[in-house]
Symmetry: C2
Subunit: 503 residues, 2 copies
């Protein structure tokens, strides 16, 4: 067999597996956007049947041979090499997973979610504890079986953020914490921002008709350059496949800004989804997202670096006024203030740009503790309260608003939380580099022209897919150095001190 | 192995195959309702990958052994027996299909459709002829290989209308033709019905806002008792799976009646889909539709026997007036006239209840000819013209409006057309029987109460699924005799003579 033949045979098999996985993605989208609750059981049967087919193909002896053969023959270009590298990684991880653990994973995945949902509803952490304990153990056992060369928590992080380690994360987060805790104190002690009542949400706000919000969001999506499908769902998400990207957002009729922010965030994900390697690399491992942190950086670059900027609201203000006449006399600055208001809060998903990283750091430290034994499922809620008091200075009145607020652990995901803040930091570092490469970027955004930014992102990040083995390497290629948290800190300091007029 | 074990093992495999086929149904729905054109290529790859998985499972040695084992062990109830019977039938047909023909089928399926679409657009039958010729030959070869005991055209009919033969169809259609040709002559020679301009469609009609039509249709759907998903698509259809039925309709802003008619038709299909055998029989062969004719009878019973009745419009009139105030002073009779107007026409899908069967009979006779050699692809367009002149008295000005109007042959479907008219006749025979069993049926419909009718359909037809080996047997169980075309003819004579006030 020639090297071309070996690679071609592997590619054919991988693309067929990718097509089957793409079906799973469409079913997932459908479940959240279209399907009625009563069809859940039959959908579960469909997904189980498909998952079994996919798993069989992903772990087949034949695939193993095709990968070995492609590795042996060599003669590949860098994109192809990256695909073979990742095919090997995935194959080894899948085939090394003991059957007994895989079975337990499936059971705990469903048990865990149900126990958590019930515990949260009843504010009853104790009822969730036994399952959580099993979940942590499962993830430790899994790591030992699949990647014995790694620390168990490192392996869990690696699943979402390839190449990242807990030790490096701890360093990064120490830097962030050291800068952020006093900065938040400084900002929240300053006089509160006065936000126009029309933009403050809640009872005093006017009604922003949902249909008009949706039409406005569709326009914004088009201007940002995503030509896909937009729907509503309970939580905004980006779904579908690279060739068929679909985003959703949700609308609050008292707060149109949250709908727009969700739309802009998902559009960032969507552009990354549809601009990764195509052509012969479409459906190959190199076309996958490099990491969750990079995926999140692409959404946060749009949501925060673009969508929370004065320039963006300079562009959007007249469009908003056309949809909602009663906003006509508002200035860009009014929107800018409303979307950047800082407020310490209990709930991660409601947190603002400035306080959000502390929510993540708390979860990271607790996860680390659960894996090294310094935190147990017994003292987890107390540790949670301690850290919220220590870093954010707030009291957690209930587990419902504390340790039970997030779905991640019940869904077996440990090591996922850091991606959110890594994403925010990458977004900042990338964007500042884009600003250097595109001298008029601010003015372009103020005109609603996102072409140069999109082209820059496509060339430097989207089109690279999983070419590099870690986000740090990508970051170094793009910006000249690996992730540097001080860039993010400096950005936050300058932005919020100016906004709160303190320096 | 006990008989229970043998059947259980077979059932497990069949249900998993059914779950995979259900995924294909959801993808099919998505393609027509959600997906954008640009995703067609990736969707085709998904469908091909899934089809290959399904085909492998449907023809696996293991399935063959499971069926044999269940047949050998026996001890089944009638529903289970029917499932085993049909599993065998399907398995034999699939495994007897020569690989070479299956490959050609896949190629011609796509080539045929494309050639037809282009030929129709350019009104160029000659460009379609070579493909059509191959398609007919493929269907003959297939029948010889798979069901050598049957006449080739009988086999094609059997695929859609199990147990039906061309010879019995010819008899039935002779009766219909003999009654219908003079009846149509009589009706179309009578003074034209005067239809209120608001309901006549076309330029003179007012605008029926599409959003309001959709809201009205959703209400009608609910009243008819279908609690599923309603969307818009280019052509109305019923999709999804038994546990997740989805219907679509389309709206013409000058003619709201066509949208309602489409909705009522699809609701009939949908109720059949979701009320067939469930519980342990869900996903088993016995839960499938008995035949296309029976499926169509369930939609036409609602569309024509209910939806084209005076009682139905007595119920609907006030709801229409609420949506469209300008219809306030119209009577049920105005709607009844509008929806039952008879007019000879060239195009099958636009044909009215009375002339529709002749469009079908023409296609049946031509198909029969193509299979027995008395018609060739060369003289097909001429034969088409001859029969339209002879049975409907109209001239066919172009092949576009003639032999090229339907998609079926290009999609390799021969023997499908008769289902439409079989469905209309079954619908009539079933409905007349329902009227005998439910003494107040007319009054109930006039009140928008469809409960007894639904219960009757569920008990007598829906819940039987594929229990009986032919539609005739089902019909005999339900009405005391097999399909009797004179019932339909008598119904049409009485209805249209009264409407056109001739007797």
């Amino acid at each position: 067999m020639t090297s071309v033949e070996a690679y071609t045979a592997l590619a054919e098999e991988l693309k067929e597996i990718d097509a089957l996985s793409g079906i799973d993605a469409i079913l997932g989208w459908d479940e959240l956007v279209v399907m009625k609750e009563k069809s859940a059981e039959s959908r579960a049967a469909q997904k189980a049947a498909l998952a079994s087919v996919i798993h069989q193909r992903q772990t087949s002896e034949r695939l193993g041979e095709l990968i070995s053969s492609a590795e042996r023959e060599g003669g590949l270009d860098p994109m192809q090499e990256a695909s073979v590298r990742d095919a090997r990684l995935k194959f080894d991880r899948k085939t090394r997973m003991p059957k007994e653990l895989a079975k337990q994973e499936a059971i705990l995945g469903s048990e865990g979610y149900q126990a958590w949902a019930k515990a949260r509803e009843n504010d009853d952490y104790d009822s969730f504890k036994p399952v959580l304990s099993k979940i942590v153990q499962l993830r430790i056992d899994e790591a030992k079986a699949v990647a014995p060369e790694k620390l168990p928590y490192d392996y869990q992080i690696d699943k979402f953020e390839r190449g990242m380690k807990a030790s490096r994360l701890a360093e990064i987060f120490e830097t962030v914490k050291a800068g952020l805790v006093p900065l938040i104190e400084e900002i929240t002690s300053a006089p509160q921002l006065s936000v126009d009542a029309r933009l403050a949400g809640g009872d005093a706000a006017p009604i922003f008709e949902v249909d008009k919000q949706e039409a406005l969001c569709a326009q914004v999506m088009e201007r940002l350059g995503f030509e896909g499908i937009l729907n509503r769902s309970l939580h905004p998400f980006t779904g579908g496949t690279a060739s068929d990207v679909r985003i959703t957002t949700r609308y609050d009729d008292k707060d149109f800004i949250s709908g727009v922010a969700g739309l802009v965030h998902e559009t960032g994900h969507a552009l990354y989804e549809q601009n990764r390697p195509a052509g012969e690399n479409l459906g190959m491992p190199v076309s996958e997202a490099l990491s969750m942190g990079i995926h999140e950086s692409m959404s946060l670059l749009f949501e925060r670096m673009v969508g929370q900027s004065m320039e963006f609201w300079t562009f959007l203000r007249p469009m908003v006024a056309e949809s909602f006449e009663f906003t006509e006399n508002l200035e860009a600055e009014d929107f800018y203030k409303a979307i950047n208001k800082v407020q310490k809060s209990l709930i991660r998903v409601d947190a603002d740009e400035l306080t959000y990283p502390l929510h993540i750091i708390i979860r990271f430290e607790l996860e680390q503790g659960l894996f090294d034994g310094s935190v147990t499922v017994d003292n987890l809620p107390d540790k949670w309260r301690e850290l919220y008091k220590q870093y954010l200075g707030i009291d957690v009145p209930s587990d419902k608003e504390g340790v039970l607020q997030d779905v991640h652990w019940s869904s077996l995901a440990f090591g996922y939380f850091p991606s959110y803040t890594l994403g925010a930091m990458y977004a900042c570092q990338f964007f500042q580099h884009a600003e250097k490469s595109i001298p008029n970027l601010g003015a372009e955004i103020a005109e609603g022209n996102f072409e140069s930014l999109r082209a820059w992102l496509r060339e430097n990040i989207h089109s690279k897919g999983s070419l590099y083995p870690s986000a740090d390497e990508l970051c170094e290629h793009v910006t000249g150095k690996p992730l540097d948290p001080t860039i993010y800190l400096d950005f936050l300091r300058a932005k919020y001190r100016k906004l709160y007029k303190m320096s």
